[in-house]
């Protein structure tokens, strides 16, 4: 099965870095979509199917937390695995994110292994659900 990925970050460089890292992970990949903020990501999801989302927190227009909360409101997106990729790594913030249904957290700067391990973890859990 090939996975479609949605990457949400206001930094084009970060989106490219994540794209490259995911492509090097060896995971079976379909399409990789990009969005610069949460609102744009919702528009992408209206038209495209994604199996997993990687999103930053601090973004203009709609930040990562608002984006995840919007996903939770939709039946067809409620179970979509979301991984936060952010510079901020406080335990309180991670716990807050887990409470709203985030599947994982990767802190920047990240290694390719961290991204690969997270995809395997999240998609493995989704397969077993």
């Amino acid at each position: 099965m090939a996975y479609n990925i949605l990457i949400v970050d206001d930094s084009a460089v970060t989106r490219e870095v994540l794209t490259r890292t995911i492509r090097l992970s060896g995971m079976p990949l379909g399409e990789i979509y990009h969005a610069a903020n949460g609102a744009e990501a919702l528009r992408v999801l209206d038209e495209k199917w994604a199996d997993i989302v990687f999103t930053d927190i601090n973004m203009p227009v709609m930040d990562g937390l608002q984006f995840v909360e919007e996903l939770q409101k939709r039946d067809d997106w409620e179970r979509l695995p979301v991984v936060i990729v952010s510079t901020e790594g406080s335990k309180n913030r991670i716990e807050e994110l887990q409470k709203i249904g985030v599947s994982g957290y990767i802190r920047k700067p990240f290694t390719p292994e961290e991204v690969t391990d997270m995809i395997q973890k999240v998609m493995g859990e989704k397969t077993n659900a």
Partner: protein
């Protein structure tokens, strides 16, 4: 755990440049001599139990390599000015997040404003913790300015605590 705010700045800056940008960077010393001064500035503010501003100054000559290294473009291809500035903003973003967690611990939540590129002539004045680095044969500088300098002076290993809430 770093012994000082300056050490936290050094550790975070080295980690980000080396891990994210694959660039050799070290603390500048007189042995490095006079290096080309920075001409590009990125600034971001942070808010939380303490608030402040982090400034990163670099030479524009490092931006193409910075962007190419981060996205893995080994041939140094399409590294436009905008991509280089985007890379700089992201580097500052990562330094800030790592610095705050390193210095204040993992139990403190900070809100980070988006990094911005500002004109060199509008650069905020140097603060109590200004650190110089050598990278790609040029000079880079990182400044941390606390909104309340008294809070930063109290942030020593023996008394590093946050203001009590009343």
């Amino acid at each position: 755990m770093p012994d000082s705010l300056e050490q936290a700045v050094v550790d975070s800056t080295l980690r980000v440049f080396e891990t994210a940008a694959f660039m050799a960077i070290w603390l500048w010393s007189e042995e490095d001599g006079e290096l080309p001064a920075p001409d590009t500035v990125a600034v971001m503010a942070f808010h939380g139990p303490v608030s402040g501003r982090l400034t990163l100054r670099v030479s524009s000559s490092v931006l193409p390599a910075l962007a190419s290294n981060m996205v893995g473009d080994m041939e140094g291809g399409d590294s436009t000015t905008e991509k280089g500035l985007d890379a700089l903003r992201e580097v500052l973003n990562m330094i800030c997040g790592n610095l705050l967690t390193s210095w204040y611990g993992e139990n403190v939540v900070f809100e980070l404003d988006p990094p911005e590129i500002v004109p060199i002539e509008a650069t905020p004045p140097a603060s109590s913790a200004s650190t110089r680095f050598a990278v790609e044969g040029t000079l880079a500088e990182v400044d941390v300015a606390m909104a309340d300098e008294a809070v930063s002076e109290a942030a020593s290993p023996s008394s590093r605590s946050l203001p009590e809430e009343h």
